[in-house]
């Protein structure tokens, strides 16, 4: 049994036309025992920069607190919000600092830059960045998510269509994974606003 599958949970990000979406399931469990259906794994790191964290729940929380610390200091010092690309490099270097005793998490970053270009990327647990043009998946339903994304994703989707695509991809992927699920939270980020939606899924 891998430590990455101890608590369960999945996350997915997709790029659309001048917009991005990032979504995660809401389950937290200990192996097959579910503990709560209200454990989001997506966190705001700026107005238009979001971070998804899957893997060991204790590391998910620790990493969120660590990145909040670093991003706040950046914000006060620079008097501006961190850009997704800058944040991705911050995540990468922070993870590599623990090269020989890594955090058990595969983060996902999604955001819209100041020039309105969408940006998504994923990481392994020691900070290798996986830049992608289309979608990034992470978590215990990775294989199911790859299958869903490769069949339903199409490029240059408008925000509403992107929401539908990412929700369907995640809901149907997590239904085929015992330790992900219990609904999901979806963020759709555009140049001028970010919409957060809670999507009800199967409660079993």
């Amino acid at each position: 049994m891998s430590i990455m599958e101890y608590n369960g949970g999945s996350c997915v990000a997709m790029a659309g036309k001048n917009c991005v979406a990032i979504a995660s399931d809401l389950r937290l469990g200990v192996q097959s025992i579910s503990l709560t259906n209200n454990f989001p794994k997506v966190f705001a790191m700026g107005d238009k920069t979001y971070l998804g964290l899957t893997g060991l729940a204790t590391d998910v929380q620790t990493l969120y607190e660590l990145f909040r610390y670093k991003v706040n200091l950046y914000k006060f010092r620079e008097e501006r919000q961190i850009q997704p690309k800058t944040f991705a490099n911050l995540v990468s270097s922070t993870l590599y600092e623990k090269r020989f005793g890594p955090y058990f998490s595969f983060p996902v970053v999604a955001g819209v830059s100041n020039d309105n270009t969408p940006f998504i990327c994923g990481f392994d647990s020691i900070g290798c960045i996986d830049f992608a043009e289309d979608f990034i998946v992470s978590g215990t339903a990775t294989e199911q998510l790859y299958g869903m994304c490769e069949s339903v994703y199409e490029p240059n989707l408008e925000p509403d269509d992107l929401f539908e695509t990412i929700s369907q991809a995640l809901l149907n992927a997590q239904d085929r994974d015992c330790i992900s699920g219990w609904g999901c939270v979806v963020y759709v980020i555009t140049a001028d606003k970010c919409i957060k939606r809670l999507v009800k899924g199967r409660q079993d």
């Binding site: 909040r68 610390y69 200091l73 914000k75 006060f76």
Partner: protein, 248 residues
């Protein structure tokens, strides 16, 4: 006589004074003035920007007002280089607190931590004290809106309105005359402009000469907003002030 005492920070003179601390306070009296006023619905901080040369590149960002937390701002008078060290320290302390307790650090605790550091330099030998006074404006769940003033000795106090830097005594006497405790933020901002224009020697204020910042609550989002004003926003307040001056 005093020669032998004033180079050591931690040694009292026979009259019971710490000369280095007094010299640090003197350094602040040469700095531009900064002031803070607490209102019912917010706090305003304002500072004088000293224009040293017209050849100097005008920075868009503020030189004397800094964010130190999501609910806290501060104004600086004294050596800016020393201030940067302390501001960095304050920001880290605030974020460490947020990391451990998952809530914003209460303002007074943060002020006290920075003052503890300053105090150390008046007692442990070898180094000079920090040549900076701060005005901290903040909000927390315990005491709401608060304004603190600190100086190089490590003393701090809580105020309704106060000022630091050169000319601060004349601002303080104006404050004593005009301050009322039921004003709103707009009135406090107007007051801040008035105090600055009366104490600065130039006859017309511009955004190049002053800096402005406010803390208030965004009632729609139910969130505190700390804002360092942009130059056009400062001009707007200044124009409003000049308008009322002309009418009276």
């Amino acid at each position: 006589m005093s020669r032998s005492y004033d180079s050591r920070t931690t040694i009292f003179s026979p009259e019971g004074r710490l000369y280095q601390v007094e010299y640090a306070l003197e350094a602040i009296n040469h700095a531009g003035v900064a002031l803070g006023i607490v209102a019912k619905d917010g706090i305003v901080l304002a500072a004088e920007k000293k224009v040293t040369s017209k050849l100097l590149e005008q920075e868009e960002s503020a030189e004397k007002l800094y964010h130190i937390g999501d609910n806290m701002l501060c104004a600086v008078a004294g050596l800016t280089a020393d201030a940067n060290i302390l501001i960095n320290y304050a920001r880290r302390v605030g974020q460490q607190y947020l990391q451990t307790f998952n809530e914003e650090m209460p303002c007074e605790q943060l002020v006290r931590r920075v003052c503890d550091l300053k105090q150390g330099y008046t007692q442990y030998g070898g180094l000079r004290p920090f040549g900076v006074s701060f005005l901290y404006a903040g909000w927390d769940h315990i005491r709401g809106y608060q304004l603190f003033q600190s100086n190089p000795s490590g003393n701090y106090g809580s105020w309704q309105a106060n000022s630091i830097g050169g000319n601060s005594t004349s601002v303080q006497s104006l404050m004593r005359q005009e301050y009322k405790d039921d004003i709103n933020l707009d009135e406090a901002s107007a007051m801040a402009v008035k105090f600055l224009s009366k104490t600065l020697d130039s006859n017309s204020l511009t955004h190049e000469k002053i800096e402005f910042a406010t803390i208030t609550k965004d009632t729609t989002k139910n969130k505190m907003v700390c804002k360092i004003w942009k130059s056009d926003e400062i001009n707007e307040v200044l124009n409003k002030y000049q308008e009322t001056q002309r009418q009276s």
